[in-house]
């Protein structure tokens, strides 16, 4: 580029508008179980990334049509005064299985082409449903990793030099949710209780109380949500463990690849050594007989050392496994708390 853009300030926080949160949830939930993506629009201001609107991408279509779709959508949205600035993209995930090569590639192209401050927001559909706690995380690739990805060199040495490992591929940013005044007003109005005690009718049996549930529910749509106190933990843990096992299998394959490469390297090197010693012997022989010496550096052209396989895949897998284990831990904490509280209740 002719002129260099001023380097933006490093991002510290991502602030998402309420509207964007709801739109992302709606889009991801509607397309369960396929993963979907969409674009984030907003402003980047002094280390605070504000996301004010978003739109989903259609699933079908190749690069050209989706680029066209993007342009059309942005144009139409600009007509209604929506911020026209792309600041990142979002993606849906299930139980944390989002770390893969696709994610890194897309995020890399966003960070490269748009600005160093693009983020990817991952909304975890199954986790939000299981824990009834909204799971929305923001990530961006770290600079060191970006440089390595550009060079496309992922040998063990280059990684060790750059001190890169699976834990510093991504940088997670804290996410805040923000509402406008009007929306805040509406939320307050939504919560106004409309049922007072004089209007309650006496219930005769337990069965009739079940039918009357709806009356109480209607009264307070934002009543405290106690789904989080559910004890059900088997499906979540099961799925998590399944994913973890799949990941370890893949990791095992990668390890095998690497070992195979190491073995073939070793074989080639021994072959080289034997050939070199033979050459040396011959040279000594010839020196004795006074004939011209044979070159020794033919060794490099005769024997090709196999290229080291890229460690990127195994790094990604390790990051993914790390994520799963972290999730399991995080899930176990509240589950223990719930179990013990049930025990107390029984006494």
């Amino acid at each position: 580029m002719a002129t260099s853009l001023p380097t933006p300030e490093p991002l510290k926080v991502v602030q998402i508008d309420g509207l964007v949160v709801l739109k992302i949830i709606k889009h991801c939930r509607e397309s369960y179980p396929t993963d979907v993506t969409g674009q984030l629009l907003g402003l980047d201001d002094k280390g605070l990334l504000e996301v004010t609107n978003c739109f989903p991408f259609p699933l079908d279509g190749d690069d050209d049509t989706s680029a066209q779709y993007q342009l059309d959508m942005m144009r139409c949205l600009r007509a209604v005064n929506v911020d026209n600035n792309t600041v990142g993209w979002y993606r849906s995930a299930h139980l944390g299985n989002f770390v893969d090569a696709n994610l890194i590639e897309t995020q890399y192209s966003y960070q490269n082409s748009l600005s160093a401050n693009s983020v990817v927001i991952i909304h975890d559909v199954s986790k939000s449903a299981a824990q009834s706690n909204l799971s929305l995380r923001a990530f961006r690739l770290q600079d060191a990793f970006m440089k390595a990805y550009e060079a496309k060199k992922f040998t063990t040495e280059s990684l060790a030099q750059a001190k890169l490992s699976f834990s510093n591929i991504f940088e997670e940013l804290p996410v805040k949710v923000h509402n406008s005044h009007l929306v805040t007003l509406m939320l307050h109005n939504l919560e106004m209780p409309t049922l007072d005690s004089s209007r309650l009718r006496t219930l005769s049996t337990f069965a009739s109380s079940q039918k009357e549930q709806s009356v109480a529910d209607e009264a307070r749509p934002l009543a405290p949500n106690f789904d989080v106190l559910d004890l059900e933990l088997d499906p979540f843990m099961q799925k998590n463990l399944e994913y973890l096992l799949d990941c370890s299998d893949l990791q095992q394959q990668e390890q095998n690849n690497y070992q195979y490469w190491q073995r073939s390297m070793a074989r080639e090197q021994t072959k080289m050594q034997t050939w070199l010693t033979k050459r040396k012997q011959e040279n000594v022989h010839r020196a004795q007989q006074g004939k011209p010496l044979l070159p020794e550096d033919e060794v490099n052209t005769l024997f090709k050392l196999p290229a080291e396989p890229s460690r990127l895949e195994s790094m990604i897998l390790s990051a993914q496994m790390h994520n799963f284990t972290k999730q399991l831990n995080q899930f176990a904490g509240p589950s223990l708390a719930r179990l013990y509280s049930i025990q107390e209740l029984q006494k």
């Binding site: 309420g18 509207l19 709801l22 739109k23 709606k26 609107n53 779709y69 059309d72 144009r75 139409c76 007509a79 005064n81 939000s128 449903a129 009834s132 706690n133 909204l134 929305l136 063990t156 060790a160 490992s165 699976f166 804290p174 996410v175 805040k176 949710v177 923000h178 509402n179 406008s180 009007l182 007003l185 509406m186 939320l187 109005n189 939504l190 919560e191 409309t194 005690s197 309650l200 009718r201 219930l203 337990f206 109380s209 749509p221 405290p224 949500n225 789904d227 106190l229 933990l233 496994m321 284990t325 399991l328 831990n329 995080q330 176990a332 509240p334 223990l336 179990l339 049930i342 029984q346």
Partner: protein, 300 residues
């Protein structure tokens, strides 16, 4: 909130009437509310209200209408008539269709109160897309948000009336309209609602443990309130209310009474499963960190 004002509903509905003439209820998803308010905030200086189209699904027999999505359209005011930019509207609709083909145009909305004769022409622009159903018109009253406790959302359907030749003339009949949301949205909405009490109108996302803590605190608070109420009734300070008493009794009796040994067994096995998984997870993590350290130590 359900509008229960005495209203003139489209009354007759049986198998004989055509689907588009039957009465229906309409539910609005919270995304639409937020989107409309956002558009209202971002409108141009001269325009006094925001207008847009509503997308959603209709149940098969036409009796339930769900409004799930919306987008704004641009309009110009020419000689006290409002003209909608059709091309922009078409484009947006097509783009939305590509992502979600099952959402169809159900109607349109405006952000001001009141219905005036001026809106009939706009109504007729949306009519061809919703044929044979009549477009639903929803008003989001921002003034009433500020002044009263209600939400200011009213829905109307049109019915052709009179003998005039202009096609748009119709009377607008109020329709019952309520806000409905699903489980996944619930957690998001709770998150947003927690932001409403802070000074800066923002809240950061809670970790799972914090979320549990908040819920347990709320539960405790509720139990305190109830026990205080019961105490005061027993002491005679408050009038006993049979309905509330009944509710309390039902709630308390919901806790299942399980035999202690059976409970101990269940509890322990559950606990053991949990601990075993945690142990395995931690072992994997240590393994991963060891590989990380080893990789970094490779001599060059």
């Amino acid at each position: 909130m359900a509008s229960t004002s005495d209203a003139l509903y489209v009354s007759v509905g049986n198998i004989g009437t055509a689907p588009h003439q039957r009465p229906f209820t309409c539910t609005v998803s919270p995304v639409v509310l937020f989107a409309v308010l956002d558009q209202y905030l971002r409108r141009d200086e001269q325009q006094s209200k925001a207008i847009g189209a509503l997308l959603g699904v209709r149940s098969d027999d036409g009796s339930e209408v769900e409004i799930r999505n919306s987008f704004g359209v641009i309009y110009t005011e020419e000689s006290s008539e409002i003209v909608v930019d059709k091309e922009h509207y078409r484009n947006m609709y097509e783009l939305h269709q590509r992502v979600n083909p099952e959402e169809v145009i159900l109607g349109w909305y405006t952000s001001g109160t009141g219905l005036s004769p001026a809106i009939s022409p706009i109504h007729s622009t949306f009519a061809p897309d919703t044929a044979p159903f009549h477009p639903i018109h929803v008003t989001f009253d921002t003034e009433s948000l500020i002044k009263s406790d209600g939400l200011g959302v009213h829905a109307y359907t049109s019915a052709p009336v009179g003998f005039s030749s202009t096609s748009g003339d119709s009377i607008f009949l109020p329709v019952q309209c309520e806000i409905k949301y699903l489980d996944a949205e619930r957690s998001g909405l709770d998150m947003l609602a927690s932001a409403k009490s802070t000074e800066t109108r923002s809240a950061s996302l809670l970790s799972d443990m914090d979320h549990l803590e908040v819920a347990v605190n709320k539960l405790q608070e509720m139990l305190e309130r109830i026990s205080r109420y019961v105490d005061s009734v027993v002491e005679g300070k408050e009038k006993p209310n049979n309905a509330i008493g009944r509710y309390i009794m039902d709630t308390v009796s919901v806790v299942p009474k399980v035999d202690t040994t059976a409970f101990e067994k269940m509890f322990n096995s559950h606990l053991q499963d949990l601990l075993m998984v945690v142990y395995l997870a931690n072992m994997t993590r240590t393994q991963l960190s060891i590989t990380e350290k080893l990789n970094l130590l490779v001599p060059n």
